[in-house]
């Protein structure tokens, strides 16, 4: 039973959500718009007319394209590792009482609290001591290191206060600990894991300081852009950034459409009650 007040409330919340998303996207719109700017000099600060020329060959600068590719690969790999390690840590921290839990709990917050320069530089020191050549792999190691905490904290927020009885019931019925986690706990925390993965990917793909120390000769998208500010960020950067967002959104739209279609078919196939 929905009252008028309920509808107003829902409408207001929807509006708020829309405005907040708009706030997040305003600068992105500007970036997208300036990918069509017919800029004459090296800089791309004022609107000088519409052109499609920057879109004609988005991968014209192979170094820029490579930087983008590196960023996406690094984000993908490091997110996968961090999500697995972090989710297990969160499970242990919330679901088990063990000696050292409180200390571990606090320890997980430390990487968040460490200023990036210090984090980046001290990790570089370790790699040099171990005579590891810095590059793609060391960037991944660094990104896993500083995204694990975000994963742990986010997944913990999901697990905390969650009903434990179902798992216990499953174990009483003979399921092993591992089966209980796999079949019951993981599906229940799936939205938390997804959110954690999104966060980890976002942080990885956008990191500048820590990456710059441990990148060796590998360039990533943020490193390229930061360096490019000296000469003026070329519109090709806007093109690639915008293109990436559009591709992600299209993939998502496709996914949503397929899911809705499938759901509709299921409903149609079900006998009416």
């Amino acid at each position: 039973m929905r009252t008028r007040a309920d509808r107003v409330r829902a409408w207001f919340l929807g509006l708020w959500t829309g405005v907040a998303l708009l706030y997040l996207f305003i600068p992105v719109f500007v970036i997208a718009a300036f990918s069509f700017n017919d800029n004459q000099g090296r800089f791309n600060f004022t609107w000088q007319g519409f052109t499609l020329r920057h879109w004609e060959n988005p991968f014209a600068d192979p170094d820029l394209a490579l930087a983008m590719k590196n960023s996406l690969l690094i984000a993908g790999i490091s997110t996968a590792i961090a999500v697995v390690l972090g989710t297990f840590m969160a499970l242990a921290l919330v679901r088990y009482v063990f000696r050292g839990r409180g200390a571990t709990d606090m320890f997980v917050f430390l990487p968040l609290a460490t200023p990036e320069v210090v984090l980046g530089a001290s990790l570089l020191g370790l790699f040099l001591t171990m005579a590891v050549t810095t590059g793609f792999t060391t960037i991944v190691i660094a990104h896993v290191m500083f995204t694990i905490s975000y994963v742990v904290v986010t997944v913990k927020a999901r697990l905390e206060g969650m009903d434990r009885h179902i798992e216990e019931a499953a174990m009483d019925l003979g399921a092993t600990e591992w089966t209980a986690i796999r079949k019951i706990t993981l599906p229940m925390i799936a939205p938390g894991v997804l959110a954690a993965a999104l966060l980890a990917a976002a942080i990885s793909v956008d990191d500048y300081v820590i990456t710059s120390f441990n990148a060796g000769q590998t360039t990533t998208f943020p490193l390229f852009i930061f360096g490019a500010t000296r000469q003026g960020v070329p519109p090709a950067v806007n093109v690639l950034a915008t293109g990436l967002l559009v591709i992600i959104l299209l993939l998502l739209a496709l996914n949503v459409m397929v899911q809705r279609r499938l759901a509709a078919r299921d409903r149609a196939a079900m006998p009416s009650r």
Binding site: R9, L13, G14, W16, A20, L21, Y23, L24, F25, P27, I31, F45, L85, G86, F88, L91, A92, L93, V94, R95, Y96, V97, F98, M106, L112, A113, P115, E116, V117, V118, L119, S122, G125, L126, A142, M145, I148, Y150, V153, E160, G161, R164, P191, G192, A195, L198, L199, A201, A202, V205, D206, Y208, P222, F226, T229, A241, I248, L249, L252, V256
Partner: protein, 288 residues
Amino acid sequence: MSLRRRRQLVPWLLIGPGLLWLAVFFAIPLANQLYVSLQTGDPETGYQFTWAFGTYTDAIADYQEQFLRSIGYAATATILCLVIGFPLAYYTAFKARPWMRNLILLLVILPFFVSSVLRTVSWQLILFDDGWIVARFRDLGLLGDDGRLLATRTAVIAGITYNFLPFMILPLYVSLERIDRRLVEAATDLYASRASAFRHVTLPLALPGIFAGSLLTFIPACGDFINAALLGTPRQSMIGNVIQSKFLFVQDYPTAAALSFILMTFILVGVALYARLLGTKTLTDSAV
């Protein structure tokens, strides 16, 4: 192996790989920084380990202002993120259709795929002194006739809020989405008012999310330097800027390390107090 023994082992099996990763790639390098922070010397003549605690006291004395400012800005931004983010997370968890949920979550983090340097420059292109936005702010009397938005405290705090908003929204959503709607409905019947149902049921159940979200926002925001550097003036400089400058430009490594440890100590103490305040400890324990 007894069942009891095995059950004691399980948490360590789960926590082990992650903890090992953090121990090797975070704790050991950090221990070295602790060692550096107690050294004296300079890059040319070398450093000696002298238990130089003076570096710490000097750092506090010299950069008190930046410490306090960082905490103030980060706290303000965290509250703003909560105010902006909570209704969004609430809507997504309870009101949005299922297919919209993941879309909204993705939209929240999508701007990160465009480098933050680019986004901050975009804000500069939007909020410039002679721009449309500033003119409207002046019309509305929110700014004086020669008031500006860029290079102000407002800009720095808004920038931090902007950058960390997703870190608030995602944990909030994650804990709200878990709440059983029937509980809230039952409570509405019981309390007969939406507001008190929200206060007595939804809010307590959302506490883990509020706790996680505000920490993921506040902690990194304390050490932020990009926003103050690009949107502020020397009067808005934060402790992150000092550490960055000490390390890269002045090359005073002991002071940079000492400042970091002061910041980290403060944050850890703050986290412990905050956890107590929100009572998430008891919440966690009761769930076990």
